[in-house]
Point group: C2
Chain length 393, copies 2
């Protein structure tokens, strides 16, 4: 196991009706003038935003509102948010939505307390020195942004998707009410589940030896997702299954199951180019990329792939030929994705194989390699994308 | 799943040599005058306390020292610590030791900022309003106190063991260096492992339905303990096995695997009377009590016991008679405890069956019941203790 620091100070406020406590939560963490940042009109129509307003008002907290966050959140709305926060003297951001909304809020939190362009911090490694405090009310189990110090946003000019990571943008509190996710369309539910599973797998495939405890915790989360996701696809308003997925989604990404080990975020990085170019759902892009990455990478450590195949997918171990088991595990994953309505190849994603050179070019590896479980050159990325383009079950 | 709040703001600083960063850590969390509180002379002899002194001095932090914490830490030393902190103007406590030392430090932290007797908070439910900040350097994987808001201490008069729980006494940081645990005697190592497993089991046996995610995480931690504990018994200086146990011990008790479900702490409560009366090691007492509690309680939910038997102990499910599987799982646990050198009955613990009425009396249930997975009357506790007294494998 490698040395590590683990720090997850976010207070998670979980369960039915907890959004009605958002005013008290903001007050507890020192907010007095709030930007309520949200995405689609569904949050308004469902009455959620109204409940937020009532809770804030009941705690004597002033607020301004900014809706309209899109999936793959754009810099243009972020600049608008920063302007509002500066002008109105906002001292706390309450983000009501999914990963896109929370990531947008994090960017606004950084930009409000910075004299230059918030984009300076994205994809550059420039350390964030301060940010407004954030709270969240999560409406989709997926990104894990409610418990992480990460933010991914998109610059409209060139549709560049870049990220930043800092403890300064970890939410002070996150309200997780599984009821809020029961009205999600099936496709979005499945995209969220895929994203959660990717967060686990990208921690699981490691070159660090002797990581039994985090292996076992990752496997436990994957087993949960495999049991609960098909249930919510069939019964969208099954609170218990939604609750298990929601907590799994948070634990999957606050890094408690990924500490002390090398991780491999290649699938996420490659997918960001897909959703950057096609504006597809992040989870859908991952469903196409991740099994392809696995088929490309499994020979690097056949026994690790055999381990997940047997422990998680319930495959029989082929002791004479572990490679058979390893490949069967990957096939199980792709069949699972298909079964929950995810695309598994370029055609189903509305992507084009002939765009692969553009995707590789945008990733910007040049002659270099992206380090990871397996180091990837531009040619390797192209190969993974060709596997993804033509995948079948 | 039940509604819950989860809050674990402690920064965990994990790995080789990390104790040398304790000065920086204290500074980061605002300490300027520290009480270094530790237990046995082994921390001094091993050079650990000297490394602590150097690190504090390098960060220009003043400190006073108080050693001598015993297992089942006593109020007498706590009063002494409080006196020192008040007199010397201590603003931060650095606890160097295991659960006893950390729990003693938490009591000092409460007592220093309270005008009355710190004991007022123990076993009474009186809420803690303030406490000095604490940091820890953990020297034994066991109690989980490094990541919890709990403290258990013993009043010498009558050897009363009582506890308190509050977010105010959660450590600001905890330094976990598995190297520090490699010199532990085998018996203490095994006691620690038993305590960790008890923390998991006491979350696992729940009456809350639909808790797949926390079930799976608990099972993952148990599988880790079952794999790694025998390794460290054979190879005490195996860093990797020590590291996996150490992180499992922390995750087992900061409640991330126990949220949203009823829990049952009967074994801990009953054991506290055993170690209170006989001053035996807490883990050793648990090894005797916990399987006995399981044999008493399993009929309440045979399938839950069959689940852990198959998923964790690798038992074959007996579909015709699940009770057989449930009992086989409990037998596996007791054989495991025996295999790592733990006592499994009163004789091996140096306890006396004729003392059972005294133990039951001290527990103080009277005509009431202790609520839990199974509600326990005084007669039930006596029955569990009789099972424990006479257990064999």
């Amino acid at each position: 196991m490698d040395n590590f620091n683990f720090y997850s100070p976010t207070e998670f406020v979980f369960g039915r009706g907890r959004e009605n406590e958002c005013g008290e939560c903001v007050k507890r963490y020192g907010g007095s003038k709030v930007l309520v940042h949200y995405g689609s009109q569904s949050a308004v129509k469902s009455g959620l935003i109204d409940r937020v307003r009532k809770s804030l008002a009941a705690s004597d907290i002033e607020f301004v509102e900014l809706g309209g966050v899109q999936p793959n959140p754009r810099d243009t709305l972020i600049y608008k948010g920063i302007e509002i926060c500066k002008k109105e003297g906002v001292d706390f951001i309450l983000s009501v939505g999914g990963g896109s909304c929370i990531d947008s809020s994090k960017a606004i939190a950084i930009g409000t307390l910075y004299d230059g362009d918030f984009w300076d911090f994205y994809g550059t490694g420039k350390p964030v020195e301060k940010a407004l405090p954030i709270g969240t009310i999560l409406t989709i189990a997926a990104a894990g942004s409610e418990g992480s110090g990460a933010s991914v946003v998109t610059k409209e000019e060139g549709m560049l998707k870049r990220d930043v990571g800092s403890d300064k943008i970890r939410p002070r509190f996150s309200i997780l009410n599984p009821e809020l996710t029961t009205t999600l369309p099936p496709y979005q539910t499945a995209c969220g589940a895929t994203d959660i599973m990717a967060h686990i797998f990208e921690r699981y495939f490691t070159n660090t030896k002797e990581v039994e405890v985090t292996d076992r915790l990752c496997e436990g989360l994957l087993l949960t997702m495999i049991k609960e996701t098909p249930r919510v696809m069939k019964e969208p308003d099954n609170y218990e299954a939604r609750a298990n997925i929601m907590w799994a989604g948070t634990v999957a990404h606050n890094d408690i199951v990924g500490v002390g080990r090398s991780q491999d975020w290649s699938s996420h990085v490659i997918e960001h180019e897909l959703s950057g170019l096609y504006d597809c759902a992040h989870g859908a892009g991952l469903a196409v990329v991740m099994p392809a990455w696995m088929e490309f990478a499994y020979k690097h450590d056949v026994m690790r792939f055999a381990q997940v195949a047997t422990r998680v997918w319930g495959c029989e171990m082929n002791f004479a030929d572990p490679e058979v088991t390893a490949l069967e595990g990957i096939a199980c994953f792709r069949r699972f994705l298909k079964s929950i309505g995810m695309p598994i190849n370029f055609e189903e994603l509305d992507a084009k194989e002939e765009d692969i050179p553009i995707l590789v070019e945008k990733l910007g590896l040049g002659d270099g390699k992206k380090p990871g479980f397996v180091d990837l050159s531009s040619a390797d990325v192209a190969e993974i994308l060709h596997i993804a383009a033509n995948a079948t079950i």
